[in-house]
């Protein structure tokens, strides 16, 4: 359908539209008009993504100059695929003259088609295998030698030849390209899909990639450097965005890292000696370059680009590298002293928490490395590695980590702390010392994004309380709104279960969680539900260890065997491959009508981005409140920082964090208004107002008072009733004044109504 919002013709790929989608688009358009940032909470199951894509694409078509680009950030690659699939649907409804180019971007591992590079397992080894074949000096060597003597990548060479005649030669025809499409295209044309995609994001109208490509300065520095200001940046499913920001600026150093770094330093010393003997001029040239203040070698070849500086672009010093680390040997000895110092610090038996200022002072006094040297560590290392023509970058990750750490600790004095722990609190018997540089301020990493781009849209199904995010991320949204859901029928049914059938309370509170009575009551709940609910059921637990424990207990008690009489059981594990296969099987079991249960973990991979819509999830059970491990030092330090700088109380933040995770878990159950699903919050603490009120409005509005304090048998009764009700036919469009599905006609009428009012 096609309709007008103010002066913009919006192309929407469906014949009907939900009223909230329409409102969402109106708000979004106002934000784009104002060229400001916005924060929109919209319930899951109302077609948020398609509304976003359709409005922004239409807006870009309506205002062709300056060309507006959409940077769509997702958390995971599979979400990227989902978004691109929606985009493809939208594209088939755009007028043919306005076809645009949209593509997904990922790492070499997901895009490479070279069989040699692909045979390596991890991302880093694919990266370095690629570098071994495509680094500028490798290619230079290959050009001098007879063909075949130095292996190169045929895909990259073909792409490079094609691209050398100008960017038009490799410009992709308009369309939507998923990672799979890019790979297929690369195979067909013999071009390297990764570098093709890297090149194409400059010309593309829509780029879909993961958060890190914008938020992590190391990645953003090489990938997103050239994006113009006229970009609309969308962070979808952004309820965890503060954590991503914090992660982006945090480093942890373990004993293995330090050992590896020592090995790396050895290797580099050998390389330096070799170069001194054979090609001393290179080292001299580097020195001269550094004197002139060029840490980087100017314009690097595309293939030589490495992870960029971990500090934010505004904070990187634009001056010459200090004199005492200009010479390669001197720099190496500085690094050696630093590694030695860190090793000494790791030997502590107590937990130590330090501010960066104190840490830098201590480094300076004990290892003789001043703050400025620390700050330049990363760039100096990068330069040295290029000079030494090191291609197996995956081997040198350790020393790179050390330099990341040094640069960050030398750059930031505020909002960070250094925490040294001799062992994990939860496993005190295993010594595993770790030194962590932890960022507490989420606004640091996202600040350049807010500054650089004209509109940043942060949206999710769970952004409650919505006033907290602007504080955490330190920005002023022009629009900040939370939408409710208009339903034709009550197709979601949240319940709070506080007691088992024996009326004993259930909870995952620390003192109660291992109580066999609680474990049994949880098991009975699952068993009853498994017998009553058709198709798929998803269960979320508070942590992996808790899930393992309770599943083992259920197995011992025989509850698991009874559950298996009704449905197949699949479990999320820490191994992603296995989890992916389990999910795939789970879906097949639901498709074929066998029915299945999926056990998953809040904050886990599955909770983050897998939909359990329609028959894939008719019921979600959230066992317990997914609080963080409150004794964690890093969490304590972060809470302290939040209290001091943003005046956010610890308890409030913890509850907010737990409830957004819980809401996120249960929200995966519904995808459209034709869909239906139940949500059970199984913990007595959910019945308390301070916890419950942190749930997003669209769940709260369906949470009836009668459903606040249920026991297992009552919940079962309600579930049966609900399922029976949902099985009845209903009027999709809604009745009377409360329309829940709008057709083009309705929209036109609405438009006229607005005209009349003004």
């Amino acid at each position: 359908m096609k309709f007008l919002i103010d002066d913009v013709t919006v192309y929407f790929p469906y014949d009907y539209i939900y009223p909230e989608q329409y409102e969402y688009m109106v708000e979004l358009k106002r934000a784009l008009d104002a060229r400001g940032h916005c924060l929109l909470e919209m319930p899951t199951g109302t077609g948020k993504t398609v509304a976003l894509l359709s409005l922004i694409s239409s807006y870009a078509l309506a205002r062709p100059s300056p060309p507006l680009k959409l940077l769509y950030c997702t958390r995971t690659v599979h979400e990227m695929e989902k978004t691109l699939a929606e985009l493809r649907l939208l594209h088939s409804h755009l007028p043919p003259t306005h076809r645009s180019l949209a593509l997904g971007l990922s790492s070499r591992k997901n895009l490479c088609v070279n069989p040699i590079a692909l045979s390596s397992a991890s991302r880093d080894s694919v990266d370095s295998a690629c570098r071994r074949l495509t680094a500028s000096w490798v290619r230079a060597a290959a050009a001098e030698q007879p063909p075949g003597a130095v292996p190169t990548c045929p895909f990259f060479e073909a792409y490079d030849r094609a691209a050398s005649s100008g960017p038009d030669a490799v410009l992709l025809p308009p369309g939507v390209y998923t990672l799979g499409d890019l790979r297929a295209l690369g195979r067909e044309k013999g071009w390297c899909p990764y570098f093709l995609a890297r090149q194409m994001i400059r010309y593309a109208n829509v780029v879909v990639y993961s958060y890190q490509y914008l938020l992590d300065p190391k990645v953003a520095g090489i990938i997103s450097r050239e994006m113009q200001r006229e970009c609309v940046v969308v962070f979808d499913e952004a309820h965890n965005i503060d954590n991503v920001c914090i992660e982006a600026l945090s480093v942890s150093v373990r004993r293995q890292t330090l050992d590896g770094a020592t090995r790396n330093l050895h290797r580099m010393a050998q390389e330096i000696d070799r170069f001194k003997a054979t090609d001393a001029s290179r080292l001299r040239a580097e020195y001269n370059r550094l004197v002139e203040g060029l840490a980087q070698r100017g314009n690097l070849a595309l293939t030589d680009a490495w992870l960029a500086n971990p500090a934010l672009p505004d904070d990187i010093l634009k001056e010459a590298v200090p004199g005492n680390i200009r010479r390669a040997e001197h720099f190496l000895s500085v690094l050696r002293r630093l590694v030695q110092y860190l090793k000494g610090r790791l030997q502590t038996e107590n937990v130590e928490t330090e501010r960066p200022v104190d840490f830098v002072a201590s480094v300076s006094s004990q290892a003789g490395i001043d703050q400025k040297m620390l700050r330049f560590c990363y760039d100096r290392l990068h330069s040295l590695m290029l000079t030494l023509e090191i291609t197996d970058t995956d081997e040198f990750l350790h020393i790179q980590t050390i330099c990341d750490f040094a640069t960050l600790v030398g750059t930031y004095m505020q909002g960070f702390s250094i925490i040294i722990e001799p062992f994990d609190e939860r496993m005190p018997h295993i010594p595993d010392p770790v030194l962590q540089l932890s960022c507490h301020d989420a606004s640091l990493a996202i600040k350049p994004v807010f500054d650089r781009f004209q509109s940043v849209i942060i949206t999710s199904g769970t952004l409650s309380p919505i006033d907290l995010y602007p504080r955490l991320l330190n920005f002023n949204p022009v629009i900040s709104r939370s939408f409710t859901m208009s339903l034709t029928r009550d197709c979601i049914c949240p319940m709070v279960l506080t007691r088992g059938s024996d009326q004993l309370p259930v909870s995952t509170k620390f003192d109660m969680r291992s109580d066999p009575g609680v474990v049994r009551n949880y098991g009975r709940l699952l068993l009853e539900m498994v017998a009553a609910v058709p198709d798929g059921i998803v269960c979320f637990f508070v942590s992996y260890s808790y899930m393992d424990g309770i599943v083992n207990s259920w197995n011992e008690m025989g509850i698991l065997q009874d559950v298996m009489q009704h449905k197949l059981v699949f479990i999320e594990t820490q191994d992603v491959v296995e989890t992916t296969l389990a999910l795939d099987n789970y879906r097949r079991a639901c498709d074929c009508g066998r029915g299945a249960v999926f056990f998953s973990v809040a904050r886990g991979k599955v909770a983050e981005g897998i939909d359990f819509d329609r028959h894939y999830g008719r019921l979600v059970i959230m066992f317990g409140v997914p609080f963080q491990y409150t004794l964690s030092r890093i969490l304590i330090a972060r809470l302290e920082y939040l209290r001091n700088t943003f005046q956010i109380k610890e308890g409030d933040f913890l509850t907010f964090d737990a409830l957004r995770q819980a809401a996120q878990c249960v929200g995966r159950v519904i995808r459209s208004k034709a869909d239906y699903g139940m949500m059970i919050f199984a913990d007595k603490r959910y019945s308390r107002h301070d916890k419950r009120s942190k749930l997003p409005g669209w769940i709260l509005s369906h949470l009836r008072d009668a459903h606040l304090n249920l026991s297992t048998d009552m919940a079962l009764h309600i579930a049966r009733e609900f399922l029976r009700r949902m099985a009845q036919p209903y009027d999709k469009a809604g009745t009377g004044g409360r329309k829940t599905l709008l057709s083009q006609e309705d929209l036109e009428k609405m438009g006229e109504g607005v005209m009349d009012m003004f």
Binding site: Y14, H78, K218, V251, T573, R603
Partner: protein
Amino acid sequence: MKLNVDFRNIKGHKFSKDGSKQALLNLTQDSEKGGGYIFEFDNFSDRNVCRDFVGKVLGKFQAMMSSKQNEQLVPEKPAATVHGEQLSTTEMELRMKLLREDSELQKLHKQFVIGGVLTESEFWATRKSLLDDDAQRTAKQRAGFKSAMLADVRPSTDGRTNKVTFSLTPEIIHQIFAEKPAVHRAFLNFVPSKMTEKDFWTKYCRAEYLHRTKNSVAAAAEAAEDEELAVFLKHDEILANEARHKIRRVDPTLDMEADIGDDYIHLPDHGILRDGSKETADAENEFARRTLSQDLNRHAAVVLEGRALDVELGDTRTAAEALARSKQAELSTEISDEKTNQERMEKVSRMTEIEDLQAPCSLPFAPLCIKDPREYFDSQQANAFKALGDTGGGITPVDCSLKTEEAYIYLLEQISEVKVRGLNKPVVQPEAALKVLNGLNPYLSSTKYHLGKNPQECVLDRLPNRTKDELMHHWTSIQELLRHFWSSYPVTTAYLYNKVLRLKDAMAQIYHKLQEIKESVQSDFRHQVSLLVQPMLQALDAAFAHYDTEQQKRSVKSGNKPNGFVQ
């Protein structure tokens, strides 16, 4: 000790169910006198052989006895209990089952077979398809794996000694093979060349026990000593390979493995290692890595795949080999990558669409093609006028003033046309046809029964319940009888002749009953009932008429041949 009992004294036999505690066969003597013989067998198969034999012999004896009795007592009632054919128990059970499931069939069976109008075999002869169908269905369906985790064998202890007992059945072993390819391969490799089957399973159970007690130190020690035992404890390589293979085919929208390659946070040491929200994995130990969750996932996956082999689960070795063969076959028939890719893409695009925002999808229709618009619209107009003219008229008969010749020529043309072009596409789209059919059906049924009144209720509903049931029952009875009656012609044997006679008598009875109903019914329903009964009576009349003419022909013939049939 020997026991000699005359079969004539035995009146019946009972037996215990297969799978119950004891295999018993009870031969009962005369019911009045009581007493009998109970035999206990070692196993059920022996018992079943004897049971079948006894059943056969008893059947024969009883047939003889009853036919004798019949001759003496009720000569006009033919032997209903004569077993013309010897039925196997399964067939018998099947018939019983069908009767149990279908009350109408049971009624008919009771009326005619027990009532002596038809014999058992005659009754079932017209229902061969029912029997066949059922037989086929039972043969086709194969049982899948049990949902229960059999492979997770639990040891039992006797409490006094330190002995631990594991019990394995062929079913369990089969599941173990399917779920643990390493064990399967080890079995194929080791048994019987290296060790006996018993040793193999002992070793396996030992490994299981070590795993179960979570004694990883002991497990490691044992594994170091015994390399065969280590096979059971180690991480399953075959599974890992399979997983690697399968991961390429999963739906990209849930491929979390791709994230590992994308997130730069997954770089070692980047980001926070020990946050309050993260958990660190336990120290990795090769022998402790197999967890319950992995077993559960694997089990569910195997159950979902289904059982792939048809071999009887008796011999372990053959089962293992069959499984290996079926796996080989699976590998060779793997669909090409591109095709699966295509399917995946389609699935993803289907998944992305929000169904209730879509316009309701319309049925495919064939465009209306009017050859001569003038004629068409004229006729439309005429119809409209007619509809206005008579309000209660309903459908007016179409004027078919075609001559036979014309019709013939037209038909010929049509047929030749079809012959040339073939019926490559259906004239009417199936969906559309179904819709029309459904639309017409209520109309038809309502016009059939409604006599200008409420179209919702049919005539039968307005009759008293008893009359209605009777009518329905007679209707089905008549159908059954007529089917048998007409299928008996031409009468060639004395047997058929007798049958027809029986049938005629039965029909005559029903005829009278119908007449009675007609007369006894209340006056306000009489008209309707007589309308309903009319076709039944007509059908019966036709049958009687046929019988009479045949009878006349026969008497003429028999007049010619005085020494013909004995009637």
